[in-house]
Amino acid sequence: MSATSHLRIEGLTKIYGSTAAVEDVNLEVAQGEMLVLLGPSGCGKTTTLRLVAGFVAATRGRILVEGKDYVSLPPYQREMGMVFQSYALFPHLTVAQNVTFGLRMRKLSKAEISSRLEETLEMVKLTTMADRYPRQLSGGQQQRVALARALAIRPKVLLLDEPLSNLDANLRQSVAREIRQLQRAAGLTALMVTHDQDEAMTMADRLVLMNEGRVQQVGTQEELYEQPLNPFVARFIGHSNLIAGDIVDADSFRLPGGGVMKLARRYAQRGPHTLALRPERVRLHVGGDAAPPRATAQVEDATYVGGYVDYLLSFEEGSSLALHEPTGATGGTRRAMGETVAITWDSLNERLFDPKGTTIPAMESA
């Protein structure tokens, strides 16, 4: 990857007073790739983006584009196109003046400016709006002007700060698709920030999940979902039941209350661990199952939500588990409250984390 990386961030750190807003972030983005920074609010994703844009001065680290370090350059020399959450269109300028702002700052020729304006407006389908003012446009149109303004300067990197969050829900998907198309068509390397998981999943080539100023995991959607590197990733991407207990035997997991679950794989480690199970990857044990059930629990709550029945099950000591049973097979019948049910899961869907939060491998001879 490093051979083809277009944007490279090395050891990027921002410290405010005594707290690190961003700590030792290392990222590589390939030419034409869309990397999405995801995480809860305050995780450092926005600061990372603003560090790259140059609005915030880095405490340490390097920001390399095509091998050149931009970290100490002021933003106006970075050639990064930024799309703001609030669009930040210049209210006193028309659409055309907004779009050509960067070109005029670069002192391009009149002819060049007008041809690029035409081209860019065509791209975002706003040719007829050139003489309007931002306040005369709808939210979606403003968003496209913001995009056009950033694209017009033919930036080396496109930065997107929550570009969809100010849009109506029903507009988001189409705008998301539009942004992706434009970015792909221009072959632009892009860095986007969002707190919305679905948005991130839809738009990213790869995802970066951040928490407390640090990168938790970088990878494709599948990698983050199927192979979370730590409990935070497991819980944040999709949902996971995180169950605390002890590995007491190669395949036995004892809950604090004393109940024991049968693990799907065998482990060398012993002692306290966290078991991560996704609700949709756990199922009720049925008579046809060859293997015995892995645990039993009581139905605390059962909600029919269409595609599945959402069960809340509890083990004896209050540790509980969410389970999604697809309604396709059962026709939506629900188990009664308080009923004791047996549950099971496949070995692929079982992940165990040690107290430090790192995933532990199963023994080969499962």
């Binding site: 844009a53 106006y76 020399q77 196109g81 609030s86 210049f90 006193h92 700052m105 950033a150 300067i153």
Partner: protein
């Protein structure tokens, strides 16, 4: 938003009485003043009913009076421009500051407003006068006897110090209303600080510059205590002259005419600058 509904009617009925009071208390004295300005002055009865433009003619045809108007106008323009030049950077810093010192900074700027202009002028007298701070400092450096008091410089400094807080506060609130992201957007589009200021901050701050400028201009045109105390007897500005005509010479008709000339000059200049700002800012 179009709220041309019964509530609108109710609202206008509610503000009706207040508007009437304001109009009456504003228009009635003005009407009386306008009437007086057409009367004749008489030493014994002070005023004789008449309908003559001679008070106005006396003012506009006498270079002494037009000179005073011109001095007042020059001082007002210069101090307003200086307020703008000095106030903008401070206002900008305050508006964009996020530190906890910001509120202290704002307080420091508001604080002088608690002290009347007379008291502040007296303070300046101590600074600029003979034996004052400037004089003492100059003396310590080997010079002798410098008195800046009773000069146009003293009046300018005095008015500047009084008007600057108004300018800063006006600009600050307007600059705070300019989304900081707009500046970042300009930044990311390749505008260096100078061009960012010229193409984004300045045009968007123009209404504030207009309001602050008009405010300072009006205050300077009507300044009384400052020119009276810091300008001394030899430095003539409109408001002290107006007061002298009214209270010392008891010439109400002429004082009324001066008042009207001052008011109309200020108003028309204000209106013109207001229109210019509006045209510049308002999109067609």
């Amino acid at each position: 938003m179009t709220t041309r509904r019964p509530e609108g009617l109710t609202a206008s009925m509610l503000i009706g009485p207040a508007t009437m009071v304001v109009m009456l208390s504003l228009v009635l004295p003005l009407a009386l003043l306008a009437r007086y300005s057409l009367n004749k002055y008489d030493r014994r009865t002070f005023m004789i009913d008449a309908f003559t433009p001679e008070n106005y003619l006396r003012f506009v045809t006498d270079p002494f009076y037009t000179g005073v108007l011109w001095t007042t106008f020059s001082i007002a323009i210069v101090t307003t421009l200086l307020c703008l030049l000095l106030g903008f950077p401070i206002a900008y810093k305050l508006a964009r500051s996020q530190s906890r010192w910001k509120s202290i900074g704002v307080l420091l700027i508001i604080l002088p407003l608690f002290i009347g202009s007379t008291v502040r002028a007296l303070g300046w007298m101590g600074v600029l006068g003979r034996g004052g701070i400037v004089d003492a400092a100059y003396g310590a450096l080997g010079g002798s006897g410098i008195s800046l008091l009773y000069t146009s410089f003293a009046v300018g400094i005095g008015i500047l110090s009084i008007n600057l807080p108004y300018m800063i506060l006006t600009l600050q609130s307007v600059i705070e209303g300019i989304d900081a992201r707009l500046e970042e957007a300009a930044d990311s589009l390749g505008a260096d600080p100078t061009r960012r200021f010229r193409h984004v901050v300045l045009p968007l701050a123009l209404p504030g510059i207009g309001t602050g400028g008009i405010l300072c201009f009006i205050l300077a045109m009507n300044a009384y205590a400052t020119p009276f105390l810091l300008g001394g007897a030899r430095f003539q500005m409109m408001a002290p002259m107006l007061y002298r005509e009214f209270a010392v010479n008891n010439n109400w008709p002429f004082a009324a005419a001066i008042a009207f000339i001052l008011m109309l000059t200020t108003l028309s200049l204000t209106a013109v600058s207001g229109l210019l700002v509006q045209r510049r800012y308002r999109a067609p």
